[in-house]
């Protein structure tokens, strides 16, 4: 901790240079994962690069017909963007389940994603929404789907010197999304299981697109293509929902740990998948 260097660049290029110069440097958004891990001794970065003074990284804006959320934007700020909250309530709600209000005033979705916990709350909702992230680095910028970022617990696909600049949500168009998680208490817990759903229904209530993603049942949050496929072309009747839940169950490969048993996680994945589909369906109906 004594030799830690603290930087607060004001531009993306400055941040890229600082991170590229020192492979042991870490970007800092909200700090609610980084600082916890530093205090526990799990990580010992040589430098911290605070992204919050970079104007381009703070705040939400329209990106075409979709949205861009700067990497330094706290979760609670998402709620203040009415258009974003109306278009992607599942994503905004998911981000606003992380920790406490105090934590959410600092934590960011970019940080949540790059911390690469399989139980991260915002990630299944982002995956279901088809979100992408813009990455800056020494080689320039690139854009990838969010599910390409986490590789394993605590490990991302980011190359040395790279960091997420913003998260992009596609245009909502028709449809609705939702996220739910299973926790032992009512707040303050890491998700034992999390499930996100994003559905599009046509005018007659037939599902034309569906993405189902589940967290904390595998080393990373996972999209379950078979679950979405089970709903497409159906009117979300019970056989379709059962097929969807079965696909979710089959995709689960959870572990036993201090937060839950593998058996329980698999059972909850099915329960939550059904529940988020029901909420997303209702929102899609309202949005048709």
């Amino acid at each position: 901790m004594a030799s830690l260097a603290f930087h607060a660049p004001e531009t993306i290029d400055q941040a890229v240079a600082l991170l590229a110069a020192n492979p042991a440097a870490r970007p800092l958004s909200g700090g609610t994962d980084l600082i916890v891990q530093m205090r526990s001794g799990r990580i010992a970065p040589a430098a911290v690069v605070d992204l919050k003074r970079i104007a381009a990284l703070t705040g939400t804006r329209r990106h075409g017909l979709g949205f861009a959320i700067g990497a330094a934007t706290p979760c609670t700020a998402l709620k203040r963007d009415r258009a974003l909250a109306a278009a992607w309530p599942g994503v905004v709600e998911a981000a606003n389940l992380i920790g406490s209000v105090q934590v959410r005033n600092r934590a960011t979705m970019a940080g949540n994603l790059c911390n690469a916990s399989p139980a991260a709350d915002s990630v299944p909702a982002l995956i279901a929404a088809g979100a992408t992230c813009l990455i800056a680095g020494p080689q320039g910028e690139r854009e990838v789907p969010v599910e390409a970022i986490p590789l394993a617990p605590g490990r991302t696909s980011l190359a040395p010197g790279e960091f997420v600049v913003e998260i992009r949500l596609p245009p909502r168009g028709q449809g609705g999304d939702a996220y739910l998680r299973s926790i032992p208490r009512t707040e303050m817990d890491i998700a034992v299981v999390g499930a996100g759903a994003n559905l599009v229904l046509d005018g007659e209530g037939t599902c034309t697109a569906a993405r189902i993603a589940v967290g904390a049942v595998a080393p990373t949050a996972i999209l379950v293509p078979e679950a979405g496929a089970a709903l497409v072309g159906t009117r979300l009747d019970e056989p379709a929902l059962a097929a969807m839940a079965e696909a979710v169950r089959a995709a689960c490969r959870p572990i036993d740990d201090k937060r839950g048993t593998a058996e329980y996680r698999t059972a909850m994945a099915e329960v939550l998948a059904r529940r988020v589909v029901a909420i997303a369906r209702q929102r899609a109906g309202e949005n048709a």
């Binding site: 901790m1 830690l4 607060a8 916890v36 209000v101 005033n105 600092r106």
Partner: protein, 167 residues
């Protein structure tokens, strides 16, 4: 080992203090500025005893680098009362016996004030969920929630009276 010099505003006063680059805002408030009203209960953002207001939003000061406070506005428990006049939340905590050991109390008062500044008429459920990040082991939360709801009522009444006077 090079300390940083940080300039910020704390409870309305300009301050300067030293910090290790990796030091927390909580430690800076307590050890450098001798504002020991903000407490450490866990150091990991799970108990809320270290709650302060940073640029208008409530945060866990144990999860903020002191260095991040540069140029920012911080409000702590020491700034809640105005001079010798207790804030209604403080008075209601006393009236309702909403504290036993009192260790979590500063965090709760700062957090409750942050709620009532935004939502002058919260429901019991809204109060409980807003305060879910503040642990209390002594009271079971009952009297704390009552004190916050009662303070909200008094503040609404004060605003009504002010509104009438201004009209």
């Amino acid at each position: 080992m090079n300390k940083l010099v940080i300039a910020a505003t704390v409870n309305g006063d300009p301050v300067e203090f030293l910090t290790d680059p990796g030091g927390s805002l909580l430690d800076a408030l307590r050890e450098e500025l001798l504002l020991t009203g903000t407490k450490e209960g866990c150091g990991s953002g799970d108990c809320g005893a270290c709650t302060v207001i940073l640029d208008g939003e409530m945060v866990c000061s144990c999860l903020v680098f002191a260095a991040e406070a540069q140029g920012r506005q911080i409000a702590t428990i020491e700034g809640v009362a105005e001079g010798g006049r207790l804030h209604p939340i403080q008075r209601k905590f006393l009236d309702h016996a909403a504290l036993q050991c009192g260790f979590c109390t500063p965090g709760f008062i700062v957090a409750a004030r942050s709620l009532l500044d935004r939502n002058p008429d919260p429901s019991e459920s809204e109060v409980r969920y807003w305060l879910a990040g503040n642990l209390c082991r002594c009271t079971g939360y009952d009297k704390i929630v009552r004190a916050v709801l009662d303070a909200a009522a008094e503040l609404r009444q004060e605003r009504r009276v002010e509104g009438e006077l201004a009209a």
